[in-house]
């Protein structure tokens, strides 16, 4: 965000320019360093699209097949680049179709700016064609939103929108621009937003709390770090690694923290939460100091709060003061950007090894390996498992791919078994659990990291929620690899039905179409496999392909994901079967 593009400098030099509001939007986007946007045109946003036509060489617009796809693509782009993703839609249904993506970006702290067209100012409140109160609708799912009814407001509002979306704890912002404001001409000039007086994005770290936290860490016998996406968003990966290594503290991750630390690092002890690893879940309730870094104690992480880490002193590093003691009471709160606070605490932390404590993690890993992992990754049964597919992708990609997962069993398997060397490599819908997220998010991820392999791992249910985005892949020749793990069920719901609803499989059986034919209809190379003997070679073929590739893997239909902390249970009561 600090690297000003040439465009910006040019803009700051020119005093003013008489242009339309629609053209101003484009200049604002260019000034903010945006060169790629996702969207879908329609009546109220047409003036903007008309101007866009003239700027095609500077600003690429990717036409998704649904506005929801545009938001998820923008999210995927934002998650791998750290930049603000941009999605554009028209008023009414175009705008309401953004809501799921906004909610997803809000709960997963993804920087995104959505621009919607709106009916002309004089028609506001008249129930005009395609009028909807998108400001009212999007308020609970945006970090900030604003309606613009005069062209002259556009530069200031958009500058503020980008500033707010990316600053502090990132999030989605929606700017609703009436059609008259897009047509009106005004004297354009742009200045970057450098601050908003009512918004403190980066709380100043308090040296006292850092000292207290360091003392607690130094005196701990069984410390445990749980890190989340705050490490990635704050670009604190190096600082985390340094802390973990210096103090010898086992480090576990939340689903969105995945890839912030090399999955093969000896101090990386795996995932916490409902389908996380056995050791970090059980040992959360045995540690004496729990060090939470950039995570928010989601209920999927904590299970029952009444029994969560009650024995431990809790140190909570976070950028958002509202997260402190929201779910789990913090004994010490360290406010600030993780990069800054971890840097400050590092010199105060004494070197340590905690070998005996580590051995407890190793022992528990062995238990999980014997009872779960071995059967998942190296199965002896006839049917393919999701985990062995993930493992083959790991092997074929050399742990270097970006993995975009959807929501459900395959997501839990992907996050449990995917191996990463590089940060910003795991893109998934963690907080909202949005089925249909992966296919469009993979498009955005690929466009944001063209030099990397992007593999979308999707279930047969979620795939069909945004399957239309195959059209976007086709039109843009986006070389994403799509792996559908087909178990002919809504697998996670089916698993809950089996475990908690006496196997009454209400509406979880899927009769699916021929996915290979559908992909081929979009000229995407496609293959279906159902036997182990074909797995390795096909995945290698897929990874070697220069183009988009669709692979359907028919997997065991009624597998369950374990370990599992049943809803409302304690993390120490995690089930291995």
């Amino acid at each position: 965000m600090e690297t000003l593009k040439k465009e910006k400098v040019e803009l700051e030099n020119q005093k003013s320019l008489r242009i339309s509001g629609a053209e101003a939007i484009i200049h604002c986007l260019l000034a903010e360093g945006v060169d790629l946007i996702y969207g879908y045109p329609g009546g109220a946003i047409m003036p903007f699209y008309d101007e866009l036509y003239k700027f095609q060489d500077k600003l690429t617009h990717v036409l998704t097949r649904h506005e929801q796809g545009a938001t998820h693509a923008a999210q995927g782009y934002a998650r791998v680049t750290g930049k603000v993703g941009v999605a554009v839609a028209t008023s009414g249904p175009g705008a309401t179709n953004l809501v799921t993506g906004l909610a997803d970006a809000q709960i997963d702290s993804t920087p995104m700016v959505c621009i919607t067209g709106q009916v002309p100012r004089e028609l506001l409140g008249s129930d005009a064609f395609q009028e909807t109160d998108i400001i009212g609708i999007s308020t609970p799912v945006t970090k900030w939103n604003c309606q613009v009814t005069n062209a002259s407001e556009i530069p200031e509002v958009l500058a503020k929108a980008f500033y707010i979306a990316r600053s502090g704890r990132p999030g989605p912002v929606l700017v609703d621009i009436t059609k008259n404001a897009q047509f009106e001409e005004f004297d354009f000039s742009y200045s970057y937003c450098k601050g908003v007086r009512s918004f403190t994005p980066y709380p100043k770290p308090d040296p006292k709390s850092i000292e207290i936290a360091a003392d607690l860490i130094n005196s701990a016998k069984k410390p445990l770090i749980v890190f989340g996406q705050g490490v990635i968003l704050g670009e604190a990966e190096e600082q985390l690694k340094a802390l973990v290594e210096k103090a010898g503290i086992p480090a576990a991750w939340t689903i969105l923290g995945l890839s912030a630390m090399d999955t093969k690092h000896p101090l990386n002890v795996g995932m916490v939460g409902m389908h996380g690893n056995y050791a970090p879940n059980v040992l959360t309730n045995e540690c004496d100091v729990l060090i939470a870094i950039g995570m928010r104690f989601d209920d999927r992480v904590t299970g029952s709060l009444a029994t969560y880490a009650k024995q431990a002193k809790v140190i909570h590093f976070d950028i958002d003061p509202a997260e402190i003691s929201k779910n789990v009471k913090a004994d010490v709160a360290v406010l600030g950007n993780a990069k800054d606070t971890l840097e400050l605490i590092l010199p105060l932390v004494k070197p340590n090894k905690h070998e005996a404590w580590h051995n407890e993690f190793k022992k528990k890993y062995e238990v999980e390996f014997e009872q779960v992992i071995k059967n998942d990754v190296y199965p002896t049964k006839e049917k393919l498992t999701m985990a062995e597919v993930m493992e083959e992708i790991n092997i074929a990609s050399g742990h270097k791919a970006i993995i975009v997962s959807d929501v459900g069993q395959h997501q839990m398997i992907a996050c449990r078994y995917a191996k990463f060397k590089q940060t910003k490599s795991n893109v998934t819908s963690g907080g909202l659990g949005t089925m249909g997220f992966a296919l469009p998010a993979a498009i955005g991820a690929k466009m944001g990291a063209m030099d990397r392999e992007v593999v979308a791992i999707i279930g047969d249910g979620g795939y069909q929620m945004t399957i239309q985005e195959l059209g976007t892949i086709f039109q843009n020749k986006t070389p994403v690899k799509i792996v559908v793990l087909n178990n002919e069920h809504l697998g996670m719901v089916r698993q809950w039905q089996e475990l908690f609803f006496e196997s009454r499989y209400a509406s979880t059986v899927m009769v699916n179409p021929d996915f290979v034919k559908i992909a081929e209809g979009y000229s995407i190379q496609a293959k279906r496999i159902s036997e182990r003997k074909d797995l390795k070679a096909t995945i290698q073929e897929m990874m070697a392909s220069k183009d988009a590739y669709f692979l359907e893997v028919c997997v065991e239909k009624e597998d369950n994901v374990f370990p599992m902390v049943p809803s409302g249970a304690s993390v120490s009561d995690i089930r291995l079967k």
Binding site: T139, W144, I164, D320
Partner: protein
């Protein structure tokens, strides 16, 4: 945890839509707003919301955190009744004939320290500021004689301790 009355004071920019954003925070948690007042504050161009809720301290702390997180909110505080000076206002519209026919009406006006705002041929209007129970008491006293219209405002309050908004704004301006 025990439920109590809390008064939340929110200093904010004066912007369209912020009320919706703030009320949504209560809605999401299924907490009823008992009273709400929005006005200017002691600082130019800064608005003040005064919101009264009946809930636990855990919830009020959570809500204040979420309110304060809103971009256009400068600072939010919560206080118990003991920590603030607070008032409500009420206006009663009453049939003018009662002023002459019912002796007790004049006693009620005097005892309640209410003011007569206007008197016309058909009705007169009484205004009363004070605590909720004082207004309720006056309401109960007038009710037997017939109240043509009644309305009571939300709570307005100032805290006994300082709310350092000016310092926050000054820091930003530097």
């Amino acid at each position: 945890m025990e439920k109590k009355w809390f008064t939340i004071s929110v200093y904010s920019e004066n912007s369209v839509g912020l009320l919706n954003r703030i009320s949504g925070i209560f809605l999401k948690r299924h907490i009823n707003i008992e009273s709400l007042n929005v006005s200017k504050s002691e600082i130019d161009n800064v608005s003040k919301f005064t919101i009264v809720v009946y809930t636990t301290e855990d919830w009020v702390r959570n809500i204040v955190g979420q309110v304060e997180k809103q971009i256009e909110v400068i600072k939010a505080f919560y206080h118990t009744d003991e920590e603030i000076i607070y008032q409500e206002s009420a206006v009663f519209k009453i049939d003018s004939s009662l002023l002459f026919d019912e002796r007790n009406i004049q006693n009620i006006i005097k005892d309640s320290h209410s003011q007569i705002v206007t008197v016309s041929r058909d009705f007169f209007v009484l205004a009363k500021s004070g605590r909720r129970n004082e207004i309720d008491e006056m309401y109960q006293q007038l009710k037997p004689y017939g109240i043509m219209q009644f309305v009571r405002s939300g709570r307005i309050a100032v805290s006994k301790s300082e709310m350092q908004i000016s310092a926050i704004l000054k820091e930003f301006n530097q």
